[in-house]
Symmetry: C2
Subunit: 312 residues, 2 copies
C-alpha cells in the first residue's frame, strides 16, 4: 500500500460546494455538501473550504493525502488561474496559489465540466474509454473533453465550451456571455423555461398543461412524457440545439463516447432521444454511431474527477 | 548519428502523389510529384508508390530508412484502414497492411489534413506550439488536430472533419457527403465558384468583372482585391462559413494557434481577414485572440507530417 492513500475532490458550484474523500484506487469514502458563500465577490469561498477540511478531515495525517483537485465553474488556465466565474462573483484569480497557501497541500484546479468528464471516465459511464466528451445541461451548459485519458484544457482553459458555440446567426437576444445564438440559449434548463413562457404569452388561448408559475425544465419533461404538445416542442428545441452542438464535438474531436450530465439529464432517456435524433441529422457520417449516453455519477462526477486529477 | 536516418513522407492526393525524403532531424532532402492513377478504382495507386520508391530511392539501404508516413484524403482508423476515399476511387481498404507488404518497410497511415497539421507543427508556422488546428481550403475542406504534440485521430479517424460541420439548417442542396448545410458548401474553392455562377445567373444585368467562363476561386480573390462587389460578397460568404467553423474548433478544442492551408490560402491575407472578422463575431470570449495564420509549408505540409509521424 502506498503511503499517501487519500485524495480529496472539491466541486465549487454557484449554490453548493461538494467535497469527497477518496481512496487512491477510486472508492468514495465520504462526501459532504455545504452552501457556497458568494457574498463579497466570493471572497469567503476558499477560506470556507479550508475551514471545512480542517474541521472534517483534520484527523487524517497530511502526509497521507495526495492532494486536492478542485473544480470551478469557468475556464481555468495551466497556472490554476480563472478569468472570471460569474456564478461565484470571482474576477481573475489564481485559485491554485491561494488554496495551496491556505491548505498546505498539493492543489490542482480545473474547469468543473472537464473534471466531471474525467470522473465519468474513471469510475462512471465512461470507463473503458480513453477519448470522451461530456456535456452538462443545467442552469447553463458546460462541457469537458478527455483525450488519451487526460483532460484537454486548451488555450486559456477554453476547451469544451460547448454551451457557447454559436448555432444561430439570426438571434437578437444576448446570451449571458455577450454573444448571440449560443447553444445555451436554446438547450439549457433556463432556456427551456424561457421558451415555454414566451410561447404561452404569445399564443393567445394556447391549450397546454404547462403553467407559467412554478414552471421548470422538470415539469416540461413530465408534461412531454404525457404528450403535451408545447412541452414536446420545447424538448425538440433542446434536442435540436444540443444535437447540433454534439455533432460539432464529434466532427472536430471525434470522441469514443459522448456523455450527458447535469440536472436536465435526470429526465432520462427522453433527453437522449431528443438529442440523438438531431445529432444523427447533423453529424458527418463517420461519427453517426458514436454512443451518446447518460453519465452515471450524477452530481458526484466533479468530485470524482477532482480526486482522479490529483492522483494522476 | 543514429543508424536509421531517413524518413519518407508520402501525400496521396486526387491529382498528384507527393513524396519527400527527409533527414530525421527535419531537413527535406528531395521531393517528387507524379500524377495519381485513379483508374480501376485506384487499384494502381499503391503499386505506383512502390515502383517510384524502388526507382528513385533504391540506392538507399533499407535499414537506414525509419519508415514511410502516408497521408490519404479521408478518415483513417487506428489500423490504417480507410472507409472510402472518394477522390481516389477507394472503398474500405487497409492501406497500412497493403503498403507494408509492398514496401517491406514500416508504414503508418493518416488523414492528409492531420499530417499537414503535424508537418506545420514540426517545421512550419506551428513551431513552438503543442496544440494546433489546421484547416485546408481547396476543392474541398479538410482539417487536422494536433493535441499535446500528437495527431488526434479520433474514433474512426473522424477528428478534424471541419468541412462537414453543419452550419446551416435551411440548405436544400446536398453536400458530396450526403448531408446539407456543410461548411464545404460555402467555404471551399468549388463553393465560391458555384456561388458566383449562381448569382451571376440569377441577377439580370449584374455588373461584375467576374466571368462565368474560366472562373476560379483565384480570379474571385483577384477581383475582390480590385473591389468588385460580387467578388467581395463571395469572399465574405467564405469568411462567414470558415469563421463559424473555426469558432467551433476553438470552442471545443481551444488550440494555441489555428493555421489555414490549401489552395485558397495562396490568396494570402485577404483570406485570413475575411475569416478573422466572422471568427471573432462567433467565438466564445476566451478564444477571441487565438492567432489565425497562414500555414508556411504550402503543399509540402503533408509530406513533412508523414515523415514526422514515422519518426515519432
Amino acid at each position: 500500500m502506498r503511503e499517501k492513500c487519500y485524495a480529496i475532490g472539491v466541486d465549487i458550484g454557484g449554490t453548493n460546494i461538494k467535497i469527497g474523500l477518496f481512496l487512491a484506487e477510486g472508492r468514495l469514502l465520504s462526501k459532504w455538501e455545504f452552501p457556497t458563500d458568494i457574498s463579497d465577490s466570493g471572497v469567503n469561498i476558499l477560506p470556507s473550504i479550508r475551514e471545512f477540511i480542517s474541521l472534517n478531515l483534520g484527523a487524517i495525517e497530511k502526509d497521507k493525502i495526495i492532494g486536492i483537485g478542485v473544480g470551478v465553474p469557468g475556464p481555468v488556465d495551466f497556472n490554476g488561474t480563472v478569468f472570471g466565474c460569474v456564478n461565484l462573483g470571482w474576477g481573475e484569480k489564481n485559485i491554485k496559489e491561494e488554496l495551496t497557501n491556505l491548505l498546505k497541500l498539493p492543489v490542482k484546479v480545473e474547469n468543473d465540466a472537464n473534471l466531471a468528464a474525467l470522473g465519468e471516465m474513471w469510475q462512471g459511464a465512461g470507463k473503458d474509454y480513453k477519448n470522451l466528451a461530456l456535456i452538462t445541461i443545467g442552469t447553463g451548459i458546460g462541457g469537458g473533453i478527455v483525450a488519451n485519458g487526460k483532460i484537454l484544457s486548451g488555450r486559456n482553459g477554453g476547451s469544451g465550451e460547448i454551451g457557447h458555440l454559436t448555432i444561430r446567426i439570426d438571434e437578437k437576444e444576448l446570451c449571458s456571455c455577450g454573444k448571440t445564438g449560443c447553444v445555451e440559449q436554446y438547450g439549457s434548463a433556463t432556456a427551456m423555461v424561457k421558451i415555454a413562457k414566451d410561447r404561452i404569452e404569445k399564443i393567445d388561448g394556447i391549450k397546454t398543461d404547462l403553467f407559467a408559475e412554478g414552471l421548470t425544465a422538470k415539469t416540461i419533461f413530465e408534461e412531454a412524457k404525457k404528450r403535451d404538445l408545447l412541452a414536446l416542442e420545447i424538448v425538440e428545441e433542446m434536442g435540436k440545439a444540443i444535437g447540433m452542438a454534439l455533432s460539432h464535438v464529434a466532427g472536430i474531436f471525434a470522441p469514443d463516447i459522448i456523455l450527458v450530465g447535469g440536472g436536465v439529464a435526470k429526465a432520462g432517456t427522453i433527453v437522449i432521444d431528443a438529442i440523438q435524433k438531431y445529432y444523427e441529422k447533423y453529424v458527418f457520417y463517420v461519427a453517426k454511431d458514436t454512443p451518446i449516453k447518460l453519465g452515471s455519477l450524477g452530481n458526484d462526477a466533479g468530485i470524482y474527477g477532482g480526486a482522479k486529477m490529483i492522483i494522476d
